[in-house]
Amino acid sequence: MASNLANVDAVAGPDGQAYKARQVVFQTTPMGADGAAGVRVSTIQESDAPGRRVHDPANPMADAEGYVTHANVNAVEEMVNMISASRSYQNNVEVMNTAKSLLLKTLQMGQ
């Protein structure tokens, strides 16, 4: 998502084509025996949406009709995804902190 936002105004990548937005797809992965489920990235999908075309004949990357194709990244969508992702991250950090403090208290049991 950060790379999507970074490339929101990119005109051409190393291959000469405009940057395509990428989205991760999560997948559940079993952890341990007792029904505990982790998560991993199964695929990273490139968006097939058409890139934003801007009329700018002075740009060296403009095509024959004077249009420049920008990356097909929607900044608003990416911001929403970014907020959602960082909230999920925060939640998981909080879970780990709680688990850690509970484990530490369990270690002090009987003292």
Partner: protein, 138 residues
Amino acid sequence: MLDKLTQRLDFHGNALLLRAERQRVIASNIANADTPGYVARDFQFADAMRAAQGLQAPAGMRQQSVSDARHIPLPAAGGGSSDSRLGYGLQTQPSLDNNTVDMDRERAAFVDNAVRYEATLRFINGNAKTMLSAIQGQ
């Protein structure tokens, strides 16, 4: 004599194990909050506790999770295989990717479970201290 001493600890020990297991299940739900098609898991603590004590609960109290006689009750942890004793959470509001994790519900359940886990820990500590002072006779 000794089994009477440990009996009370056994109860809280079982409770602690079940609380830890529920904590793990809820943590899995929170980790999979963005996984498409993931279905939230949970179990009824009261039923699991009764199963762990080897008690057959009265029929009226056993089915806390049902409001109609035809509903299938949530299975209790402790009996059956590790996967079959977990129930599935229902969607509180439909989502496009068929994920049934409700973050608010999971967070509330997680904090609630953490507090109860700590309470159980304190019960165990209190029991141990009580028994220790009884043994020492001071």
